[in-house]
Structure formats: C-alpha cells, structure tokens
Amino acid sequence: MRLDRSARIVVAALVTLAAVCFAAPWIAPYPPDAVDLTQLRAAPSAAHWLGTDELGRDVLSRLLFGGRASLALGVLAALLATAVGAGVGATAGYLGGGVDNLLMRLTDVALAIPTLPIAIVLGAYAGNSLPALIAAIAALSWMTTARVVRGEVLTLRETGFVAAAQGLGQSRYGTIRRHLLPNTAGVLAVSATIAVGNAILVESALSFLGLGVQPPTPTWGNMLTDAQATMATRPLLTVFPGLAILLVILGVNLCGEALRPRTRPI
C-alpha cells in the first residue's frame, strides 16, 4: 500500500510519538506519581518543562505515561474490535444461510443499542482494569467492520480463485483465513485506524464521567478530567492532555483517510 508524502510524514510523527510514550519509564524526568508539595501547580520551568499539576506532579512525565496507557488502550481495543468484526463478517459472508442470518441479526442488535449509554454500563464492569476496559470498548465497535467485511466476502466468494482453493481441497476455515481475509486487508486497515481514535475518545469520555482508568494511573482522559477543577486558574493543565488527544486522533484519522481507496472520497 503506497502512501503519499504528507501521509508518510503523519505516520512518522505518530510512530515517533508512540515510541517516546512507550519509552516513558526510561526517559520521563520524574515518576508519574511523584508528589512535590513545594511545587503545586507550578508554571513551566527548567525543572518542570510543562509545569506541575494540583498535587505537584510533573505534567510532562504524566503526559508520557498517560500516552502509554491511552495509546496502548486505543491500539489494542481497535485490534480486538477489528479481529472480532473480521471474524464475524467473514464467517457470515462465506457460510451464508442460517449462520449469516444469525450473525447479522446479532450485529443489528449491537448496532441499535445507543453507544455512550451502554459504554457507561460496561465501564462499571471494567472498574480499574485496563484489559477489561479494552474489551468493553472493543465490544462497542466491531459491528461496522463486520458489515463491511461481510459485504466484501460476499463478492469475493464468487471469484475464481476462491473456487480454485475449494477445488484444491482447502478447508472452509483455510479458505477464509488464506484467501478471503487477506483480500479485505484494505478495508480492515481503514476501519482499524479509525477505531484507534474512537477508542481513545470513548476512554476520555468515560474518564470524564468517572468510569475510565482510575487515578493514580494517568491517561490523557483522566488527566483532562483532573485538570477540570482548576481550569479557571490553571488553564494550561487542560491544554496539554487535550492537545495530545487532539493531535493523535487527527493523525490517526488522516492515516485512515490516506489508506482509503481513492474512489471513495469521504
């Protein structure tokens, strides 16, 4: 898959950002929860590049560690959702008949339930566990992928190479895995990329309602929520995590855009 130059710059920037965040334990100037009571809500300085928060914790360090959690959550939730969606869609499209009907009605059910309210309910299950939160967010976002993949598979099923694979004795599972799914890689890449941004947005909304990843573990979402209390006096504290979320999602969406086939210009 070829990307134009501006898209490659965006990808490079995202990869750099992710690498810096994942290296947080080695490069962050302070531990994320190191409290310095002499430096409450300090302005940016040489010691604290981005200042400190309401407990005197270094904002830059927390941004790096928070990015680690937020990005991991976004990427893993998107991968999980895409895997589930691709599995459901490919199975339904390839097997057809009763299985197709059952899986697609299940998809309809999941699509009809309003997203944020049910996310709030699922947030209660997740509690303080990052893996549970990832599973909950993935459970909200596999449906569109399933539908798109099913559509692609329905077309691919009728092609010659699939008939050839079956003629050569390839099993059903093997046909799906070796021949059908690789041919849907394009749409999967687009939906997975967009899903990363959505997952980060949902986590930040849940954090805002007090249901996301719980303090003291920083994420960009709960840093933003913490900063809300002092927004009028220290607006800078809301700016950094907000900008981080904004830039990452902007970058991820631009990548999704660049991966999308040129014939569909949305």
């Binding site: 059910v109 009809a112 309003p114 944020l116 309910v121 209660a124 299950y125 904004l246």
Partner: protein, 317 residues
C-alpha cells in the same frame, strides 16, 4: 410499498426482543446492585434489611424470572417504577425529554446550517482555500474530545469574556426567554460540532460524486449555467445520502447527550441515565436504553424510506 413497510415493521419485533435481552443481561450483571444506595449512607446496615430491600425490588429473583416480569409489563406499555424514586420510569423520562429534545434540536439545526455551507463550499469548489479551511475544521471537529471543547468554551466565553452563562437552563429567578436561550447557546454549539464535522464531509463527498456523473457533464455541455446545474443536478442528487445520515443521527434525540449535558448541567435524559447508573436503578436504565434503541431502529427505517422517496431509482421491496 405497504408490503415493504409491513415486513420491516414485523422484523422490528425480534430485533427489539433481542436488544431487550442483551441490554437486560448487561445491566443486571454489572457489579454492584441497588442496595448500594443503602450502604452509601455510610452507616451500618443489617444484612437482613438488605435482603428485605432486594426482595421488595424483586432483584432477589432469578434473572429469567425478572426479565419475563419486566417484559410482560413492558409489552403493555409499563416500563416499571424507578428503584430510587419509586415513580414510573416513563414519567421520569417524559419530564426530561423536553430539555433533551430542545438541546439536541438546537444542535441539529446549527449543524445542518453549518454543514450545508461547509459541504457546499467543498463540493462546489474542491481544493480551494475555503475548502481547505472547511476540511481542516471538519477533521479538528472529529478529533476533539467533546468535553474538552465544552470546557474550553466555558472558559473562554463564560469565564474570561463573561458573555454567556455556563450551566443550567436559566438564571435563578429569571424567567425570560432571552435568558433561557443564552443558557442554551454554548451547549448547543459545542454539541453541534461533531455533527457539523461528519455531515459536511458526507455532503461534500456526495456533491463530488454527483459532479462526476454523466448527466452533469451533459447538462454542462448543452450550455446550462453552472448555477442551474448545481441547483437541479448536484444538490438534488447529493441530498439523498446526506438525508439518511442525518435521519439516523436524529435517533440520538431520545438518548440525549450524556457528556454535554453533564458539563453544562443541562437536565436532560443523558444526565438522568448517569444518575441511574450510579444508583443501579435497573428499570430506569432499561427504559432509557430501550427507548433509545427503539428510536435507532425506527429512524433507520425512516432513513430508508426517505432515501427511496428522494431517489426514484431505489425501489423498496
């Protein structure tokens, strides 16, 4: 056509049944229970009293029994009584619905105007400076966490500039309509941002797609003015797909805007839901989720009907 409508309406029954089972299971199995409200008071509570409380609410029964009881009442139009207020769920939702519809309606109206303008600029003059600004704005709108936008708007327009109130529906003691609309302004604009971003992109794309079709080239070739082509050939063809996206979003009128309502203390259904979740008020949560899902299902059908009405090539069978 009536056969199509009848079949679609029939299909809704198993779909809604499936939704109600999933939602019921997910809500009931969530950790915590309605007795948490007793414990939250922080005093010692006799375990027997907790049992009695659970029995009174009926949550001590096995899940299938509870579900069938709920379903039996729901099909006759009774969504049960709230655990926390003992009032009928429908009545509580009915009280909050006007505020939510007002907020969402205002946001949708703002979004429709802005998206029409931004989409038309991009669709008629793709690649120009105005299109670039509109596209950049749409991408920003999609990438912005809505509560961050809300907080920044409160800070700038409410605190720093002091132009607009930042919470509630009216100033205490004030009853004027102007005061009410001033309270509506910030949440409505903040909430509209997401819809502007998505609708304008759809509109732009369908305008460009229409412009690439043969009949538009023919119309230009036969000497029709560009304004006439845009009005008769582009707009007419581009509005169909956008209308269905807008209609599907309209379903959100009934679930409210959880985040925006929370930031701006707007007394709508979204906030009612959050309160219901903290109290594990199962009937209230079921009621809101079910009505919200019903709205989604109905609006999907309406979107298909509109699509068919706007595009005579689409035959609904």
């Amino acid at each position: 056509m009536s056969g199509y409508l009848g079949r679609r309406l029939l299909q809704m029954v198993p779909l809604l049944l499936g939704i109600s089972i999933v939602v019921f299971a997910v809500i009931q199995a969530a950790p915590g229970g309605p007795e948490g409200a007793l414990l939250a008071a922080g005093r010692f509570v006799d375990p027997a009293a907790i049992e009695a409380y659970r029995a009174r609410l009926g949550v001590d029964q096995p899940l299938p029994v509870q579900y069938l009881r709920w379903l039996g009442a729901a099909v006759s139009g009774d969504l049960g009584a709230s655990f926390s207020t003992s009032r009928p769920v429908l009545e509580m939702i009915g009280e909050r619905l006007p505020a939510t519809i007002e907020l969402m309606g205002a946001a949708f109206a703002i979004a429709a105007l802005a998206a029409f303008g931004a989409g038309a600029i991009g669709g008629f003059w793709p690649g120009g400076w105005a299109d670039r600004i509109a596209t950049g704005g749409a991408f920003l709108g999609m990438a912005m966490p809505i509560f961050w936008l809300g907080l920044v708007a409160q800070l700038v327009f409410g605190v720093t500039l002091g132009w607009l109130p930042i919470s509630g529906t009216h100033t205490i003691g004030a009853t004027s309509l102007g005061d009410h609309f001033a309270h509506l302004a910030l949440p409505a604009v903040v909430l509209s941002s997401r819809y502007v971003a998505s609708w304008s992109r759809y509109f732009r794309a369908s305008l460009l797609q229409a412009a690439a079709s043969d009949h538009v080239r023919t119309a230009m070739a036969k000497g029709l003015s560009i304004v006439a082509v845009r009005r008769a050939h582009l707009l007419r063809n581009a509005l169909g797909p956008v209308a269905s996206v807008v209609t599907i979003n309209l379903a959100e009128l009934f679930t409210g805007a959880v985040v925006t309502e929370t930031i701006f203390a707007w007394p709508g259904i979204g906030r009612l839901f959050v309160q219901g979740m903290y109290a594990r008020d199962y009937p209230l949560l079921m009621g809101i989720l079910l009505l919200g899902s019903l709205a989604v299902v109905v609006m999907n059908l309406v979107a298909d009907l509109i699509y068919g009405a706007l595009d005579p090539r689409v035959r609904l069978r």
